[in-house]
Symmetry: C2
Subunit: 328 residues, 2 copies
């Protein structure tokens, strides 16, 4: 066992604590092999509670909050996606109120799922532009604690538990690729890989039209997209990574690279996942598989682990893709 530096030693302890803390509440997803390629190891977080890996970070953040600040009056976040559902479930499980600010034009199915987990949803007058201001306002009025979807150490350590399980299931894995939006999953995975085995190469995958993290890595400073990107991968629409994610990914150099895939590659891959792999994943989860199929991941002969981040796909989108596919 190589001695870890103090930075990684601290994160190793936090990752192990996160795994312990959330174990009773999240699902230990399996590691799958497939007929597609013998090198692949798939971590299907579509089977995770609430349908995405976001449950890991949300439970870690909420449970820790309850332990360390029992006086808290509840949690709040801005999200129209998987973090909203995950935070709602974690808060309800912990007996805490949860408030989610969701832009008024968000997908009604995701709003309904968030409400179904017992959260209060505020949509009136919330827009993509004013959401951060509204967040500050409601947070102050109600005395709530903000749980940021990615720029938060408890979230990062929670997300890192997916890779912990992956490496426990197959210690030979040499490359891990994950979808990259705000960088929560990528930085958590990078920390896990670094504390487990520094020879593991961690790769982030972005849509070509949302390549701010790639630009950030190249520039050595956080780059921000001009506007929300137009991609079917709706889980990676943040316009910039967070400062903590930047610290892990760039300042500490714990990832090897960020690669991109086109929307057409993503669509083809989504259909292959559904029809060939029998995994009903969401477009965001298809990012690392698309990068593998396009030959953009490194290959050094060791098994390649892909974290398929979630399964909350739009049925309409999938129906359209199935209809439009070339006849087989």
């Amino acid at each position: 066992m190589v001695e870890l530096d103090p930075y990684l030693r601290q994160h190793a302890a936090e990752l192990e604590a996160a795994a312990e803390r959330i174990r009773p509440y999240v699902r230990r997803t399996p590691l799958l092999t497939t007929d597609l390629d013998p090198r692949l190891r798939l971590k299907p977080e579509c089977f995770q509670r609430t349908g995405s890996f976001k449950a890991r970070g949300a439970f870690n953040a909420v449970l820790r909050l309850c332990d360390e600040r029992p006086e808290t009056r509840g949690v709040i976040a801005v999200s129209s996606g998987n973090h909203a559902q995950a935070l709602a479930l974690a808060a309800r499980t912990a007996g805490l109120p949860a408030v989610l600010l969701i832009p008024h034009d968000a997908n009604p199915a995701k709003v309904a799922a968030t409400r179904a987990h017992g959260a209060e949803v505020i949509q009136d007058g919330v827009t993509f532009e004013n959401r951060e201001e509204r967040l500050r306002q409601v947070t102050a009025e109600r005395g709530l604690t903000v749980v940021h979807p990615f720029n938060d150490w408890d979230i990062i350590h929670g997300q890192g538990t997916a890779a912990l399980e992956m490496l426990d299931d197959d210690g030979e894995i040499g490359i891990i690729a994950v979808p990259t939006g705000g960088g929560g999953l990528l930085s958590g995975t990078a920390l896990t890989a670094a504390v487990r085995n520094r020879r593991i190469r961690v790769i982030g995958v972005e849509p070509e039209v949302a390549d701010d993290a790639r630009q950030t890595l190249r520039a050595g400073a956080i780059q921000t997209l001009d506007r929300a990107p137009d991609t079917i991968a709706d889980g990676v629409r943040p316009t910039a990574i967070g400062s903590r994610n930047f610290e892990v990914m760039v300042e500490r150099g714990l990832i090897e690279d960020i690669v991109t895939v086109t929307e057409a590659e993503l669509q083809d891959t989504l259909l292959r996942a559904w029809l060939d792999l029998k995994l009903a994943i969401e477009p965001t989860a298809a990012l690392p598989l698309a990068a593998f199929l396009a030959g953009r991941l490194p290959d050094d002969g060791r098994p390649i682990g892909l974290i398929l981040s979630g399964g909350n796909a739009s049925p309409q989108l999938v129906a359209d893709l199935l209809r439009a596919r070339p006849a087989s």
Copy 2:
């Protein structure tokens, strides 16, 4: 450990031998829990090699044949579905020629998949009506060995390994429900349950329009449908179970019941599997889940294991169902 009678002792040995024999060639599928119901344990054979549990029986039959009759000149079967692909792969793996008779109007995608596994496919002039006669003819001409899709002990023991793995993963399971067509999976599962724990209740599930096994159980004699049933569950279209399946299921009384589901229930369940469980299963695999959702499985508080038999769904069918679903 209760002492087994000689009949079950023999089958216990065959089941263990099958598991050992096929282990290097088939995939050990995981056992999944879901957000749907805490009692459920799902065995997703959609992730099995060739996309269905049929690989288990096919590998067991072919590998045993190679051991015991090394002079064999190849294998042959009539099938337009999952048995065809599984037998083709098993034969290619063992270095044996495989010939599949597939009715001329079968799904071209399944024919292509069978050919892709290296099998010779004969379609010219093969109809649903004359297929058994053509089988005898080609078998005699070429000196091949018939591997029946369900009325064959090696097939039955191979299929029984899915339940072996299920019970190894969760020894508390008290009820197991599986799709029922020719009865290969059901009789294999019934033998496994009987040798492991006589208190496990094994239930077969059929489409209401293809309830010959249910009639057979009620009548105590094999009942045959007048014609191939019109069901979306294309894996359970045999018009009658086999004599060996009858022996296990009815004569030995190793199953508790056979229940049915309607086509509408099956369609709804297929969509729930894809959209809520994120499992891209085929209609046949939705049978036990449909029976659970309709309240037709027994419930004694113990976990309920469902074998989701495969994932080779028609993309067109799924696209149509997604389009037609009520808006959410």
